[in-house]
């Protein structure tokens, strides 16, 4: 059984449909890239998958022993966080919250897990620094470390590289690719079709026409060829 099975899903706000007829599955170890233009409904899809908002129609099934509180999430950044007085360690540790249930304080193992994930992201030296004083790239790593505290199985990333310079973007991609090799399924929203095609195993393209399939199938499909050509044209 797949980690995530989506059947005939329609998304939107207040009964107004933005995307309809989505069907896809995510298995353990998959790397799914969601691409589409601004406003096509990618973030909406992710929020629906996370249960933050209701779907208009259709089903999202969670399987393969995955529980609701075992999902890691890297949001598109919000404004409130910008002037928040919180140290990196506090933020990463808050990723363990879902394991606590009603228990009020973090256990030794959870503190250890937070330390390990900070090391994994190469931010252990920043542990005592204030989140708001970090660079965009460092902030993304902190949030990724937090997401890793929440899951061992599946990560949902909403534009993890937006606003990062090319070097840091490449580092971020390779970090994510490594996590995927360690067996964590990835669902990533991205505007970078070239990178999506390079790293992903599956691609979901939403917009006027919806495509879901493996990376190779995408490259041969009409939508895929059209967008690849467009991007080459843009870069030339």
């Amino acid at each position: 059984m797949a980690l995530l099975t989506v059947q005939d899903l329609s998304l939107g706000y207040d009964g107004h449909t933005i995307v309809e007829g989505l069907n896809f599955t995510v298995n353990a170890g998959d790397y799914l890239c969601i691409i589409g233009e601004n406003g096509s409904g990618k973030t909406t899809l992710m929020k629906t998958l996370l249960g933050l908002k209701e779907a208009i129609k259709g089903q999202i099934e969670i399987g393969d022993g995955l529980k609701r509180n075992e999902i890691g999430y890297l949001p598109q950044q919000t404004i409130v966080q910008k002037d928040f007085p919180a140290s990196v360690r506090e933020i990463v540790l808050s990723g363990c919250q879902s394991r606590c249930g009603l228990r009020p304080f973090y256990s030794k193992e959870e503190k250890k897990l937070a330390e390990d994930n900070m090391k994994r992201m190469g931010i252990e030296a920043l542990a005592k620094r204030c989140y708001r004083d970090l660079s965009g790239g460092q902030q993304q790593r902190v949030l990724l470390a937090r997401a890793l505290c929440a899951t061992r199985k599946i990560l949902l990333l909403d534009e993890p590289v937006s606003g990062l310079d090319p070097k840091v973007t490449a580092e971020m991609y390779s970090l994510i690719a490594n996590l995927n090799k360690e067996g964590i399924a990835i669902i990533m929203i991205s505007h970078d079709i070239a990178a999506a095609v390079r790293y992903a195993s599956h691609i979901l393209h939403i917009g006027t026409s919806v495509f879901y399939g493996t990376r190779d199938a995408y490259l041969e499909s009409e939508v895929g060829m059209f967008f690849m050509k467009q991007q080459e044209g843009g870069e030339a």
Binding site: I71, P85, A86, L156
Partner: protein, 280 residues
């Protein structure tokens, strides 16, 4: 001066005022950081006006212990305000402005229509600015204040990590299986309790100051949520204590003296923050 202070401290009502003042200052500062960061500070403001309206009703109905009427009304309003704040369709701030100004107007109207004493403007002034009410608390009220504040502090400590998670990033908390809405509700209820408590100390118009100033001051100086929370609690207690003592010695109104001390403390922290920033 110390003689005078020692003399005053012999009176039980002065000791009560100090105990209750410190406890209220402590719990009102705890959630200040959350309030400021979640952009909830306007809810605090709105609620204090609701509490004023409720107090007017309680006074007219001659309820013996008015807390038992004010507390539920304020809690219900807190829950309602939180709901409208989350609802994208009704503009949150507009709803709050409506409720708070409406409550203020009705409160004043009721007090004028059914005057409880000949000095209506004096009564209004007392509820708005607290004047001497902290010094006139009965033993029962003191106990109620003590119990409620201790409860608030205990709940805050037990749920500290969850409050942090929900304050920092509600979506993430919710997405990973923390019941963010339940905790938001809890925060709103605690805010309501704090506001009703703080009304005794500084009166309903100055409550926001008591809640927000220590948090803003602490945010100038510290970088982690824990240190900001501890610092704002300490600051708030020191300010309340010195404010009460100054007001006793100088004969100034308690509420405004405490808030004035809070403002001075904020000025000092602001300056210290700038100096600290330069050194880096």
């Amino acid at each position: 001066m110390f003689d005078k202070l020692a003399l005053y401290l012999q009176y039980p009502f002065v000791r009560y005022a100090l105990i209750v003042g410190v406890l209220i200052a402590l719990c009102s500062s705890l959630l200040g950081v959350t309030l400021v960061l979640k952009r909830f500070s306007f809810i605090g403001d709105g609620l204090s006006h609701v509490a004023f309206g409720a107090m007017a009703i309680a006074a007219v109905l001659k309820v013996t212990n008015d807390m038992f009427l004010i507390l539920p009304i304020t809690i219900i309003s807190a829950v309602l305000l939180l709901r409208t704040g989350q609802n994208a369709k009704i503009k949150g701030d507009a709803a709050i402005a409506m409720i708070s100004v409406g409550a203020l107007a009705f409160g004043y109207l009721i007090m004028n229509l059914f005057p409880i004493s000949s000095n209506v403007s004096g009564d209004v002034c007392t509820t708005l600015f607290g004047s001497t009410s902290i010094l006139t608390l009965s033993k029962n009220e003191v106990w109620l204040c003590v119990v409620l504040s201790v409860l608030v502090v205990i709940i805050f400590i037990l749920f500290y990590n969850k409050i942090f998670a929900v304050t920092f990033d509600e979506d993430f908390a919710q997405a990973t299986g923390t019941k963010a809405n339940a905790y938001n509700l809890m925060i709103a209820v605690i805010i309501a309790v704090i506001i009703v408590l703080a009304m005794n100390l500084v009166g309903s118009l100055l409550i926001s100051a008591l809640v927000i100033f220590p948090a803003l001051s602490a945010m100038r100086l510290f970088n982690s949520f824990k240190s900001v929370t501890i610092c704002s609690a300490v600051l708030s207690v020191i300010c309340a204590l010195s404010g009460i003592l100054i007001s006793i010695l100088a004969g100034t109104p308690v509420g405004s003296t405490i808030v004035a001390v809070d403002v001075v403390a904020f000025g000092l922290c602001y300056a210290a923050g700038i100096i600290k920033g330069r050194k880096k």
